[in-house]
């Protein structure tokens, strides 16, 4: 009965309900299935014009871009995602400043390391670009599966299960932020996060440790894997 009620609401809000569902549009989205996602990056726009894919964009209505997306050359959607997850209480400006200061701090740390390095090998191995380190850190903290709680016969089992790309990214970002917050207080957040990013990019640090512990637990519980379907 609840299903039919929500169906009714859905139909009144969006007349293309069944078409929308088959096109995999979000249930309560104000956009119908004919709307396409915007292209924000100027490099990508250039490519579209050159390769001739422009036809697919010309005659369709386009959704408006999210508020924190910009067409700046220096915009990165993963950084935007990180700031969103970092934000609390709606203080986005503060989170953006923190991210900027974190990246600055990463650069300073790496330059310091460069000046202290003794061998040429060490010097060549140091990456200065904070964005590359950021991407590497997130890549290294992404887990490959998650643990689901399944109840069987009165007992709850932790069952390993595959994980979607979005959830992986969310988990990685969350662990990085928590690892950054774990450090003692007198050090400011940008400095803590910079250390955490550099460690995670080198596959060390507490965020990566958490990921490997999850993997260990999944491996230990592999016998329960079929509980998902039995």
């Amino acid at each position: 009965m609840l299903n039919s009620f929500s169906n009714l609401i859905f139909k009144t809000l969006n007349p293309l309900s069944s078409a929308a569902r088959s096109a995999n549009v979000r249930c309560m989205s104000r956009y119908g299935p004919q709307f396409i996602d915007p292209v924000v990056d100027p490099q990508e726009q250039k490519k579209i014009r050159e390769t001739g894919d422009l036809q697919t964009y010309l005659f369709r209505p386009i959704k408006s871009a999210p508020g924190n997306y910009t067409c700046s050359h220096y915009f990165d959607p993963e950084v935007a995602k990180f700031t969103n997850i970092l934000m609390s209480g709606g203080r986005k400006a503060l989170c953006r400043e923190l991210m900027d200061k974190t990246f600055e701090q990463i650069k300073r740390n790496q330059i310091e390391r460069f000046n202290k390095a003794e061998t040429d090998e060490e010097r060549n191995a140091i990456i200065f670009d904070p964005l590359i380190i950021f991407h590497k850190a997130i890549e290294n903290t992404k887990p490959i599966m998650k643990l689901l709680k399944i109840k069987r016969g009165g007992q709850t089992y932790q069952v390993p299960y595959p994980i979607t790309e979005n959830e992986k990214r969310f988990r990685a970002i969350k662990w990085l932020i928590e690892a950054g917050n774990d450090k003692p207080n007198p050090i400011h957040f940008p400095q803590r996060m910079a250390i955490e990013f550099i460690d995670a990019a080198n596959n060390k640090g507490s965020a990566v440790k958490r990921k490997t512990e999850l993997h260990r637990q999944c491996e230990a519980n592999r016998a329960y894997a079929h509980y998902r379907w039995a």
Binding site: K46, I62, S72, H73, M99, K101, F103, K107
Partner: protein
């Protein structure tokens, strides 16, 4: 403000390509070698109009001597540590003032320059440039980084014994004397300046006539109780020697409008409020900015951050100095420090690329636009890039 400028969601839905520079993203940093333009010599006295926009470096010893205590803006301080050098950009207002100082008439009363400008556009850096020139050219330097350190964070406040109704801040006065010693000790001993009159501090402490001036300074550092009075005597001596053309003095006070604030955070030992001009060291420094001596110059900056929060609307000297300050300083030469011109912006960005600070030089025009050519905001924007 910068966050607001970066948001433009409505326009994005139209797939409009912005007219910013279309430089391809640089993948291999080793391929692109950029070098900033630098001046031929590191001596500020030899720079000319052709050197405007170029960089020159201050040596490490000069840095330690002159600028080791609160002098530089915090952002520049961090950059010195990261880049392993302190590089100043040669700008027009600084060159103007330096040229006037070079052609100073020693018989006329002192020249007074007041540097003003908006936040982050280079007042303090111009100021430090001029101080470096004066030091290299053999001038005595009476250097006050900011008065806020004294007015807000003074630890000890005592009544003055020599001046009625005045307040001493002994620890800070002693610190100023210590800095003065580091900056000017060599010069003063070379010029062999001596104390004019005998001074009796107490039954057992006397500074004899014709004692070396540094002995007086040492006395002030060791006996913190008399530091403020030592400052007063020192300043009188310096003024006399300058007028006699035995030495040249530059009075350099950053944030001079802080002297004329109606209130400060200090409280006298009997809990009465202390306006800045009730403090002895401030009164002594005010004497230095009077026009009753010659063969010297006063370079002052007026800054909104040194004035009280309700007095920060404009940046102009008359507004910030109030009537009192203006009448005290009048006549003076106001010098405006503007935002960077395109050539200077280019060179600054080249410098950051050279130092591997700006790692993504794709859209330099974007950075220039967003920062409105303000060097502080430009450096902030280049931080995460």
């Amino acid at each position: 403000m910068i966050v607001k400028l970066l948001r433009a969601p409505r326009l994005l839905s139209k797939c409009v390509v912005r007219n910013f520079s279309a430089v391809e993203p640089v993948v291999n940093l080793n391929e692109r070698k950029v070098f900033a333009k630098r001046a031929e010599t590191n001596d500020p006295a030899t720079h000319s109009e052709n050197d405007i926009g170029k960089f020159y470096t201050v040596s490490i010893e000069d840095n330690k001597k002159l600028f080791s205590f609160y002098e530089f803006p915090a952002q520049f301080e961090r950059n010195i540590k990261t880049f392993n050098e302190s590089a100043f950009m040669i700008r027009e207002p600084a060159l103007e003032i330096i040229n006037s100082l070079k052609t100073l008439d020693p018989t006329k009363p002192i020249l007074k320059f007041v540097i003003y400008g908006r936040f982050g556009e280079g007042k303090t850096m111009t100021f430090c440039h001029i101080c470096h020139f004066a030091h290299r050219a053999g001038w005595i330097l009476c250097y006050v980084p900011t008065s806020t350190i004294w007015m807000r964070w003074s630890k000890e406040v005592t009544f003055s014994e020599t001046k009625p109704e005045s307040i001493n801040i002994p620890l800070e006065s002693a610190q100023w004397l210590r800095n003065f010693k580091i900056q000017n000790a060599d010069l003063i001993s070379k010029l062999d300046l001596r104390v004019r009159d005998k001074i009796v501090w107490s039954a057992r402490e006397i500074t004899e006539k014709d004692a070396p001036l540094m002995e007086l300074v040492d006395h002030g550092i060791n006996r913190v109780k008399y530091a403020a009075d030592v400052v007063d005597v020192l300043i009188e001596n310096i003024k006399l020697y300058s007028t006699e053309q035995r030495c040249r003095t530059l009075v350099a006070i950053d944030g001079f409008n802080g002297f004329f604030n109606p209130k400060s955070n200090l409280k006298a030992p009997d809990k009465t409020p202390v306006p800045p001009l009730r403090v002895t060291i401030m009164q002594s420094l005010m004497k230095l900015t009077q026009a009753d001596w010659s063969n010297g110059a006063a370079v002052l900056t007026v800054d909104t951050k040194n004035s009280y929060p309700d007095n920060r609307e404009f940046v102009f000297p008359l507004y910030l100095l109030h009537k009192e300050g203006f009448e005290h300083l009048d006549p003076f030469i106001p010098v405006y420090v503007p935002a960077l011109n395109p050539k200077e912006v280019n060179n600054l960005l080249d410098y950051y690329e050279e130092k591997k600070w700006l790692l993504k030089p794709q859209a330099r025009e974007e950075i220039e636009f967003l920062s409105t050519r303000n060097p502080y905001h430009l450096t902030e924007l280049c931080g995460p890039l």
